[in-house]
């Protein structure tokens, strides 16, 4: 569904990606792991059009979407939840969710998905009129994920959904990610520091190192790979 070939990105004169290639098949969960600064967020940003790539190709559903403006890519059903849960701090929870449905015109469908979001994260319903900026980090992360769902994506890219969140809550967020994938059939590209958990819910994984794909394999194989265990799974 999503195919990236030889993607190269530079920030000014510093090259952040040196030709990254990866594939995310329809209906799957694919994990992207790597050390800090490896270029994981950069990869997602380049795919979703938030930054321009220097060369390489991004194909979505067979269509070349390389360097399209971000808002056009969202319209195609590819949604990116950026790192650091960028919620609209001055808007309420509900307004944030409705912003997610910004490009949709089907009122009934939006209402249905709003219900689905609240089922998925009941905490959001309790805080429906709270300004998003005043919510806890975990709540904001839930909101960021739910808001992305509101755009009715066919493919979702999540950048470190577990960042700064208590282990208990991380587990429940991951359960919801699996549910989003299974029940709604949304393809997921997941970037995570919590490699253990991410590899447990995904089929396939890529390991990124300083802007290059170091390894790619089934998640199961990666979890057994001594090199990966050493570097990312804590031995």
């Amino acid at each position: 569904m999503l195919e990236i070939e030889n993607l190269e990105v530079s920030y000014g004169s510093i090259k952040a990606l040196h030709g990254v290639s990866l594939k995310v098949p329809q209906g799957s969960i694919v994990t992207l792991i790597g050390a800090n600064g490896a270029g994981k967020s950069t990869t997602l940003r380049a795919i979703s059009g938030l930054i321009k790539s220097r060369s390489g190709k991004v194909k979505y559903d067979g269509e070349d979407i390389t360097n399209l403006p971000a808002h056009k890519i969202v319209a195609k059903g590819l949604c990116h939840v950026p790192e650091g849960r960028m919620v609209f701090a001055n808007l309420t929870v509900e307004e944030n969710l409705r912003m997610g449905a910004y490009l949709r015109n089907d009122k009934a469908g939006v209402a249905e998905d709003l219900e689905f979001s609240f089922q998925m994260f009941p905490r959001l319903k309790e805080r429906i009129y709270q300004a998003a900026g005043t919510m806890s980090g975990g709540e904001q992360q839930m909101l960021a994920i739910a808001r992305a769902i509101m755009s009715k994506p066919r493919c979702l890219m999540l950048d470190e959904p577990s960042l700064g969140i208590a282990p208990m809550l991380v587990r429940s967020i991951f359960e919801q990610i699996v549910a989003i994938n299974k029940e709604r059939g949304i393809t997921i590209l997941l970037v995570e520091q919590n490699a253990n958990l991410a590899l447990a819910i995904s089929k396939h994984g890529y390991v990124l190192e300083t802007g290059n794909v170091l390894l790619e394999d089934t998640s199961e194989a990666l979890r057994k790979n001594p090199q990966v265990r050493e570097a990312y799974l804590g031995g």
């Binding site: 960028m86 919620v87 701090a89 808007l91 307004e95």
Partner: protein, 321 residues
């Protein structure tokens, strides 16, 4: 009924402006002048609020667009006014009104076009570029006008004089009402949620499918258009204009109104425009201390009420929803 509330309010406002205008001869000239000043400043503040408040950008050159509108409309009435009135059936409220309407619109459109030319390149970037570019544009307009030939259409450093005094209560308050209506309708619509998204977080907005550059340009061009109208009204009220009247300090005045009123709160900004204009009038005898008083006011506000007089709160928006 509820969905027509704002349209109804607009019609009432227009009717009231017309009514007051018809009996404006019974109002003391001094107070009438202050009221017209208030109206023009409300127009300026509300239009800048769309850019600096609702959309979260920072324009520092509102007076430049006002200048474009003032010069544009004045040149139309000075150079072609007589011919237009003749075509429209000779002197009388209809021909003069139509001429003024056309002149104002041309001034507004010129300002909007300038807004577009300044906005498109600088709004593609995030951050403070707009402030720098608009600040520069403000100076450029002023200096260019100053250096035009004294007997050309722009009148050089002395500016233009002998402009017809077409501006009256109706024109000022009808235009202000239309601006308030248009801008409120724009930001409170479903479409208008995009402005809030741009203000809150451009990256999140982009990743939700909001074309942030387009929103910023729409806000900026609309704001410039209404600033141009304000300039036209100002010119045809004062009957003389000069480049110095549209300097950087004038832009600062408007920015102060927006900040004092509470960025993004239409009611607050209107209130601030009224208060500051009236205050300005009281301080007329202390002209040289005016800026000091304004600065002190801003500092005090930042300390005791950083959100502005009447901030746009989450709760206000909830009631509207």
């Amino acid at each position: 009924m509820k969905q027509y509330q704002s349209q109804l309010a607009l019609i009432i406002a227009l009717a009231v402006s017309l009514g007051v205008s018809l009996c404006s001869s019974s109002i003391d000239d001094y107070y009438l002048d202050i009221m017209l000043n208030v109206g023009i400043n409300v127009l300026l503040a509300v239009s800048l609020n769309l850019v600096n408040g609702h959309t979260g950008q920072f324009s520092l050159g509102h007076a430049a667009f006002m200048a474009v509108g003032a010069y544009g409309s004045s040149i139309v009435t000075l150079e072609m006014g007589a011919a237009m009135i003749h075509v429209f059936g000779g002197h009388g409220w209809f021909a003069e009104g139509l001429t003024f309407l056309i002149a104002l619109s041309i001034g507004g459109l010129c300002a909007a076009i300038c807004g577009w030319m300044v906005g498109v390149p600088s709004l593609r970037l995030r951050g403070d570029y707009l402030a720098i570019v608009t600040l520069g544009f403000n100076e450029i307009i002023r200096v260019v006008l100053q250096n035009t030939s004294g007997d050309g259409p722009f009148g050089g450093a002395l500016g233009l004089k002998g402009i017809e005094p077409y501006t009256n209560f109706f024109w000022v308050f009808a235009t202000a009402a239309i601006a308030i209506y248009t801008i409120s309708a724009l930001v409170n619509s479903t479409y208008g949620r995009g402005f809030l998204a741009v203000r809150d977080d451009e990256i999140a907005g982009e990743s939700m499918g909001v074309n942030t550059v387009r929103y910023k340009v729409i806000a900026f061009v609309t704001g410039s258009f209404f600033a141009g109208l304000a300039g036209g009204l100002y010119a045809h009220l004062r009957t003389t204009i000069s480049p110095e009247g549209f300097n950087f300090l004038k832009s600062v005045d408007v920015v102060v109104m927006v900040i004092l009123g509470g960025m993004g709160s239409t009611v607050g900004v209107i209130l601030a425009a009224v208060v500051l204009t009236v205050l300005n009038e009281f301080l007329r005898d202390f002209e040289q201390y005016r800026m000091i008083v304004f600065s002190l006011l801003l500092i005090v506000m930042m300390i005791v009420r950083p959100q502005g007089l009447l901030p746009a709160t989450v709760f206000q928006r909830r009631k509207q929803a």
